[in-house]
Symmetry: C2
Subunit: 877 residues, 2 copies
């Protein structure tokens, strides 16, 4: 039989995946000589076997549990169920990845009517014994037997009231005995069985309950939120109890070896005298700061300080330690890597390098790139969150926190913002027409659309909080309200959004601003030294470009030209261009647009200086630029001096059933080459302007979207080249530019060798590539992707994390074929995945030259790119 | 320098791609000793070089032309431009693939004022000489100088009128001289130059004109329609003239070695005495049947009959021969493989096998699979077509010909059909709701959608004529009319559709029914002996299944279950199911559907007998089944006793921006497993019913659509298996069934090894696979795909012919990965490409087990599959 149980002297911290974090660390602490109460760990494999066997424990496992129990009894000199010297144990879950409070624990196991008496005699403290017993029955009743806690609480309260007891501590032994009796009656009444008196039976029931708690609903939700795989299973730790509630020489507490909120190098913790661990957590009594222990028990304090140093030194990281003092003896019950705020993480990492504890690479590995968002975006105040009323949950589309009054149109947002109101834009989905409203709003909430929907992409670009695809809310844009179940939120009412979790709150939840700290720059500096991938940004405006440069962007990987089309008075010319009936009419309209586009590019080139700027020519279907409501069409027909019916016909004609797969991208340029011609003109004229006027050596990279066939690129490349070279010649300047393509259609990846013959660079457009490779519309998949994650079809939304086995395979093919055909081809990624750490690691591995992401994700990408180097170096060694 | 010119004694029939069909065959006939007037051929490569050089003829080529002219003069003992013994030549185009009448020809070249006199003396027939001269000026004027023919015709007519001449033959030499003078004045007046008198200059100008005619607009259109690549170029044949118009001992004619319309083994042709070739074509004089030549010139007749035998024997195929008799001497001017009707093709092929001329494999290769459609579908009568008024051209979505009154809704079609009217359903696009109308209509015309749009797929399935994606027509369903330019066709007016060409005609064009002939079965029998691919059919009804079996289908490769959902009173239950708010409600509605589905499957299984039947579980998005207009929603809300607003909300909620990439296929079953559960029940119960009641050993293959991730299949497979096995167990029977999947999402092909672990078979759904691999919506791409073909981005609509380098690459990957993971995996294709001969060849090469196509394409597929074996055997030898 496989070894399903490890006694504490058999394990080590390296065995985390088998023993869970808690079990592995208990064994490790035992190994390095720290005072850990004895016990053993049932492995995660045993848990998985339990589930495989249809939630059954095999006789073999049971036997092994009792064998280890024997050993525990020998080590402690106590015996489970012994009336004179009873062994009491705790039975705790212990998962591989920490899931605090999500699973179950049973303490004081081993108590029954007789051992309680024995414990009372042994400790000379019958009150303690019966208090432990009533706690045990309640905990066992709740966790193992599924009896609601409040049934027990009611009894406790009524006995307290009947006896005029204010606190639990005011209860006498007799009171406690009465409570125990009543507790047992409740158990009998509800479960129809007597409260189990056989401690071994108690133990087996508790083990099963802990196994089962792996799949309780809150644990499942927690794992979904935190991307923890559901198949890991939990270990179970059976450990002899020590008691912090045996009198004034006992106590219990928790401490961090450094301050978890700012990283200060000073033990940070609290404790309670004469208490059990749960009392600290329960918050009934106010714990004391750890420093005060020095006054009460100086020797124990010194010993504990020594332990914190040992543990931090041993683990080389900030530790979160639970301890208990039983009659003056210190016991360490748990140590784990301490959770910390982003600020603390960064500070601790830098401090530890300065202290010589870890090196720069280790420091870089210590920081979760995703956490960096916290340093860049506003967050909710923690105390505010507790009382906030959650009303719905959507996709965490763009990080940050926002509070504001709800409005349903871009115009109203702009209006309200002018009056000084903080606002939240709520819509079914956003479109490019909403840009102004999105700029003015604090946050954006949509009921449709996924992680790469318009709202999500644009909000991330702006560094603005966004919750997308929140299907639970029913938006009624006409009536200016939305509903969630029975709750109705009307225009002007407050809501708050958490862009990191996707949660929507009713009313105001106060936020705090982001603050940038010195250690952050240090970490970024180290990351830049190590990483091989360059980091560019996706930016469409001079403002975004400047911000991105501040965040360390080394160029623009994706400048979308279509967003510019919506600005101000340009949209009319755009529409004129679209509804033009002849090439001449179209060219006339395009001539009006040319100076605007040129101006845009001048601004962006100026912000980016000599850094390369990749500009994607027009991509979306033309229909997106037209009005759709009859009333709006009427206005436009007047503006353009056109017949309403003819205009409406044109609008209808341009409608597509699946616009994502329709007439867009380079396909537009096959039909209307004059559009790209104008854009190329604008780019080249802007570049020439800057090189002449400001001496900036601009490096434009002209990118053709949606290429699926090499001939498309051939035709358009010729157009671009002819246009550009003519202007360069006319201006008598020397300007270098590149022509390349997006790889965003599966076919492009499949025939990348043919495409590379025409393209000087590839940029993987992994949003579209994911869409088409998976056949998932990013606008529509929000609806069912959550269900997919719940059923574990995939672990993570493929629009948020690159699907390496499918989409990634295409990318690898394209990289290989592309390099075969053109040795020096430049390869990058500009899909949203360019800002996702795990996807960045993939990009590093397949040998891309750069990733490109929204400005606010640039620091994350820099860090992740450095981590990728470190991780893959380790693996190749 | 490359050899750009071949004299007739240098070429052979194998050099067709260089010399064009005409030139290669002239050289070949010369080689086998037939009387061919001497000449030489300028190659297609020379033509392509001419275009590469910006439409310029190099001095080197010119020199070579004159060198060959020298040789020609030596061979004929005549001299170009010689006043005593002038050489006259014809300058004719000659493309690799025949494009009859599309390019230009100049005859009698070499005549000028002086050589005409000489020719008159030489032939002792000045009238003939001047008649030839005036013909030459007109032809040269038209072809080389671009002067409209009618300008010359006007002169001819006025001189005839002035001289009381009824026919051209009534004109005297003087009349002709007058005409020649006037012709020359017209040339001078229009082109501002004298009519060129230097025969060498004439020759060079004519060569250039023939090169240019490769790209005249009618040639381009012809190539587009007939899938002829635009880059081939044309050869130019310069050949010494012989004259059939030198008197009663001269003549000219054309003949087929067998009857081209029915294949009868008897020379079929006609001739004119004292005439030039163009007179036969012009149709002014009525030619005589070839048999009559025996009476007039029995020796020449015998000689010609001998020639037909020689040529047919040499080419081993029916020949189309042009000949001229000059003063009793027979000359052969052209031979080529004769065009023939499908009926003739099949009859000739079978006859030639019986005659021992060719073997079965050759017979099979002789028949163009696409032509077989003609044998299965009605066609327009040829004489009707000439006078028919074309009004628009769409995609040839489903073959056949149809004439009927236009109606715009399914209901009106049904209504009118009941009254006995023949009808054509005209819509923007069809949806499953239109099925009944499609059944009743003679043909279907849509303004949107491509070759695999709903209308196209369903029409092909029914064997019904359909023109789809006809963007030129503006359909106004409300006003019940459509417009093409200024033409308005209202409800009840007649139009006619040609499903083979996509052309729409105004009014009635009479059709003739298809007729099946004996040789057809023979060919099919031979094809079946040879082919390795099995041929299944895509059929959803017992009627289609029966028809397909008659056409030779060996199973069903795709039975779509959703079409059944629209029938009669089922749709209400379907809608009830969709709008259900709880699983219980949904199950109740599904329970109502179960007996219907079961009945459907019983019918299909019965029709197919022991042949395998692959049933695809529900695929389309649920939204497709719901009404969309407020009024229809109201009706439904009453029927379902639901609140209108709530229902409308549900309808809105289900709308998707890109439904093709949305919540459909297996994704529905992840959310609502009970739908597939019901369908599996219906399949298994039907199979059990047939095996118990009729002893038919039904072989259901349950196919899960839209799999992109192996876990989807794992989850659904478990559901299917549990459901099926339970019923089989309950019924205590032994029933074998298979579970497999469509490969229609690029990702599925990329991870086919993982999917094959769960799937017993793959069926390539190449419609969707093409859509997603190319990023082309089949509903929307119709709009720009024509432009793509015109710009030669691709040669053929990828929805009609499998894109081998892109989509095909994915298929090859999937085949390889699938077989690696499961050796005996069954592989087939059920996309529309399964009926396209070239795609079938590909399927054969990558080793699929079967193709599946609509019933009417089954014979085509059988033939194409046999051809694939023959072609690939040849290549591998």
């Amino acid at each position: 039989m496989k070894k399903y149980i490890y006694f504490f002297d058999e394990g080590s911290k390296e065995m985390k995946s088998l023993l869970g974090g808690k079990g592995a660390n208990l064994a490790e602490m035992n190994k390095i000589g720290l005072p850990v109460p004895w016990g053993f760990t049932i492995t995660t494999e045993a848990c998985n076997k339990y589930y495989q066997d249809g939630k059954k424990i095999t006789p073999e496992l049971k036997e092994k549990i009792f064998e280890n129990l024997d050993k525990l009894e020998r080590k402690t000199n106590k015996k489970l169920g012994d009336n004179e010297n009873p062994l009491l144990v705790s039975v705790r879950s212990g998962s591989v990845i920490s899931m605090p409070g999500m699973m179950d624990t049973v303490l004081n196991l081993g108590l029954n009517d007789e051992t309680t008496e024995g414990l009372g005699r042994l400790t000379e403290n019958p009150r303690f014994a019966y208090d432990s017993y009533r706690r045990f029955i309640q905990m066992f009743g709740d966790v193992v037997l599924g009896i609601s806690k409040y049934k027990f609480d009611n009894i406790l309260d009524s006995v307290k009231e009947a006896n005029g007891a204010e606190n639990d501590t005011d209860l006498t032994v007799d009171n406690l005995k009465e409570i125990v009796d009543k507790y047992k009656s409740v158990v009998k009444k509800i479960t129809n069985i007597e409260f189990p008196q056989d401690p071994k039976e108690q133990l087996m029931m508790a083990v099963i309950a802990v196994f089962d708690s792996w799949n309780n609903s809150r644990a499942i939700v927690y794992r979904n939120i935190n991307d923890i795989p559901h198949h890991l299973g939990t270990a179970v730790n059976v450990q002899s109890m020590v008691f912090g509630n045996l009198g004034e020489d006992s106590g219990t507490g928790v401490a961090f070896t450094r301050n978890p909120s700012n990283g200060e190098q000073k033990v940070f913790g609290e404790f309670l005298i004469n208490a059990q661990g749960e009392d600290v957590v329960a918050g009934i009594r106010t714990p004391k700061a750890i420093e005060e222990l020095n006054n009460i028990m100086p020797k124990v304090y010194d010993q504990f300080m020594e332990v914190t140093k040992t543990l931090e030194g041993h683990y080389k990281d900030m530790q979160d330690i639970e301890f208990t003092i039983e009659r003056g003896n210190l016991y360490i019950l748990q140590t784990r890597t301490g959770k910390r705020t982003a600020k603390a993480a960064v500070n601790i990492a830098v401090d530890m390098v300065n202290e010589g504890v870890i090196n720069k690479e280790e420091a870089i590995m210590r920081i979760n790139p995703e956490q960096i968002d916290q340093l860049l975006h506003p967050t909710f105040k923690l105390e505010e969150l507790e009382k906030a009323q959650k009303i719905a949950k959507g996709l965490p589309a763009s990080p940050g926190a926002a509070t504001g009054k709800v409005y349903f149109t871009s115009e109203e947002i702009v209006e309200a913002s002018k009056k000084g109101d903080k606002t939240i834009l709520v819509r079914l989905e956003t479109s490019p027409e909403d840009i102004e409203g999105m700029v003015s709003a604090e946050g954006i909430l949509t009921s449709r659309g996924g992680m790469t929907s318009h709202a999500a992409v644009v909000a991330r670009g702006m560094g603005k909080c966004c919750v997308a695809g929140c299907g639970e809310i029913k938006v009624d844009e006409k009536k200016k309200l939305f509903k969630v179940g029975d709750i109705v939120i009307k225009e002007g009412e407050y809501i708050s959004l958490n862009g990191n979790t996707g949660i929507v709150y009713k009313g105001i939840v106060k936020t705090q601003e982001a603050e940038l700290i010195g250690s952050f720059s240090k970490i970024m500096e180290w990351a830049d030294e190590i990483r091989k991938l360059k980091v560019r940004t996706n930016a469409d405006t001079p403002r975004d470009s400047e911000m991105a440069v501040k965040f360390g962007a080394e160029g623009i990987g994706l400048c979308r030209t279509e967003h510019m089309f919506f600005k101000d008075n340009r949209i009319l010319a755009v529409r004129e261009m679209i509804v033009a009936k002849t090439t001449e009419e179209r060219k006339r309209a395009l001539d009006k647009l040319l100076p605007f586009q040129q101006e845009d590019f001048i601004g962006i080139f100026e912000a980016m200086g000599p850094r390369p700027v990749t500009i994607r020519l027009l991509d979306p279907p033309l229909h997106e630029f037209l009005p759709h409501k009859d009333s709006d069409i009427k206005v436009l027909s007047d503006e353009l001096n056109m017949d309403f019916n003819k205009l409406k016909e044109t609008v209808e004609d341009l409608k597509e059933i699946n616009p994502m797969l329709g007439h867009r991208g380079c396909r537009l340029a096959i039909t209307y080459p004059e559009i790209y011609e104008m854009q190329v003109k604008a780019i080249i004229l802007a570049a020439i302007h800057l090189s002449k006027d400001k001496g900036i050596d601009v490096k434009p990279e002209i990118m053709i979207p949606l290429i699926g066939h090499e001939k498309e690129l051939k035709i358009i490349k010729e157009l671009v080249k002819n246009t550009a070279d003519q202007i360069i010649k006319d201006n008598n300047v020397d300007l270098q530019y590149k022509i390349g393509t997006m790889i965003e259609i599966p076919r492009a990846a499949l025939i990348a060798d043919l495409i590379a013959q025409e393209a000087e660079f590839f940029s993987f457009g992994t949003n579209d590539l994911t869409q088409m490779t998976y056949g998932f519309s990013r606008d529509d998949s929000g609806k069912f992707i959550n269900e997919y994650r719940q059923k574990e079809v995939f672990e993570k939304d493929p629009f948020a994390r690159l699907d390496q086995s499918g989409v990634g395979k295409l990318m690898e093919m394209a990289v290989k074929l592309g390099r075969e055909a053109r040795k020096d081809i430049k390869l990058g990624i500009c899909g949203e995945h360019g800002g996702d750490p795990e996807s960045i690691d993939f990009c590093h591995r397949i040998g891309l030259e750069y990733v490109s992401c929204s400005p606010f994700r640039v620091p994350i990408a820099r860090l992740a790119a450095a981590q990728a180097v470190i991780i893959n170096k380790d693996q190749s060694e």
